[in-house]
Subunit: 220 residues, 2 copies
């Protein structure tokens, strides 16, 4: 599913070059469940953004499902991001003046799902993360962990073949976190792929494989 | 230090009344280290915001250091918020177009600390959280855990007598989290008070006492 070779991402800040990723090699098969761990600042979110086609590498190759990502046109990239991939961002990235329900409906709008069906799928996703009684709240009317769960519901609503979750339980108590991990496991059991960034060992052991980043490199 | 009696906080959302806190009683002595745990949505951040004088209760009494908070004038409240209390927000709340250093200097500007000394204290706080090489980055040029650490440095820079930390290690690997908890312990050992919201048992056991919230109430 994912082939990455010598992947490098450099940020230029004034005179300085900051290597967020330095020559990362990574292969992920279809239907895999992978955890990525590593210290704060080691490059995990940078790697996830590149995998999710939200950022491009400075150097190196990224082949997604057999296609080199740098050769994809804008509409092809948009289709991948909206239909194949579900992304739970570390900082949630919800739309502010928009209810939880409308936030979760957004990927379904891109996927041209008809309105009534869209509403039904979004309600189902919010119920699954325990927010059935918070659907019409806007993000500033929700707790931190509730916002995180709206972001999770939005990532799952399209039943993505690749779920990318960046610290998805960082703001959740262990019981609520457990319910979320059960949802992920159900997605995985249906043959989909999951890549989860986490700093918690309990969460990492949900995955079948764990890789460790440090200073922009994968440790052997 | 803190006396709370029958503290209640209700949000009105259309026809609905949402009880975020229902009759909370809480006493915290000077120089205490308290952890608050509870499920997502149980009222922890709401309670912290009231303790930190950033929100007022709908009903009930809050007495801070012998003074009823509802009787404080605006300038008195501002002085308490800026000089006595350090607050690490669950969602960081950093200023966007501002460097890490400038963000950390902000409480020192309110405290009328002269410019050169201010800079020195802010640099020291950023070094203490491991961000000596990220001082001139803006929040969007930092990782999630780095932003969290800027928020922590900003809360500590005034050497507050009451530190309120809402999920301060949620985005940190265990090593970096450990360094932050050591900073908190050092503050506590100098006689200051700490209240920390956390969903992680490892973090909660740093405290001398743990209280549990559920549905806006403190469990006995
Ligand atoms: N402005 C608001 N309007 C309506 N309800 C609100 C508002 N703000 C918060 N709430 C509700 O109040 C309850 C308590 O919120 P709070 O942020 O205190 O929870 P929490 O314990 O910090 O949760 P978490 O662990 O997820 O951060 C939640 O159920 C939330 O939906
Ligand atoms: N726009 C930018 N300009 C300069 N440096 C950046 C920029 N964005 C990120 N960085 C740096 O790149 C490095 C990797 O960031 P990244 O967000 O991938 O880390 P991370 O492993 O996700 O960390 P965390 O666990 O704290 O979320 C960090 O040291 C960060 O400071
Ligand atoms: Mg990150
Ligand atoms: Mg909270």
């Amino acid at each position: 599913l994912i082939e990455m070779h010598e992947l490098t991402r450099v940020y230029q800040l004034g005179p300085q070059d900051i290597y967020a990723l330095r020559g990362v090699d990574l292969n992920v098969g279809h239907g895999e469940y992978l955890a990525i761990m590593g210290p704060s600042g080691s490059g995990k979110s940078t790697l996830m953004n590149i995998i999710g086609c939200l950022d491009s590498p400075t150097a190196g190759k990224y082949i997604l499902d057999g296609t080199p990502v740098e050769s994809m046109k804008d509409d092809e990239l948009a289709a991948v991001r909206n239909k194949k991939i579900g992304f739970v961002f570390q900082t949630f990235n919800l739309l502010a003046r928009t209810t939880a329900l409308q936030n979760v409906e957004l990927p379904l709008i891109y996927a041209r799902i008809p309105r009534a069906h869209r509403r039904e799928l979004a309600e189902e996703a919010l119920n699954a993360v325990g927010l059935g009684d918070r659907m019409h709240h806007q993000p500033n009317e929700l707790s931190g962990g509730q916002r995180q769960r709206v972001a999770i519901a939005r990532a799952l609503v399209n039943k993505p073949s690749l779920l990318l979750a960046d610290e998805p339980t960082g703001n959740l108590d262990s019981q609520t976190g457990r319910e979320i991990l059960d949802l992920f496991r159900a997605l995985y059991n249906r043959g989909n792929s999951i890549i989860i960034v986490t700093h918690e060992d309990d969460v990492a052991k949900e995955a079948r494989r764990i890789i460790h980043l440090r200073d922009g490199r994968v440790l052997d």
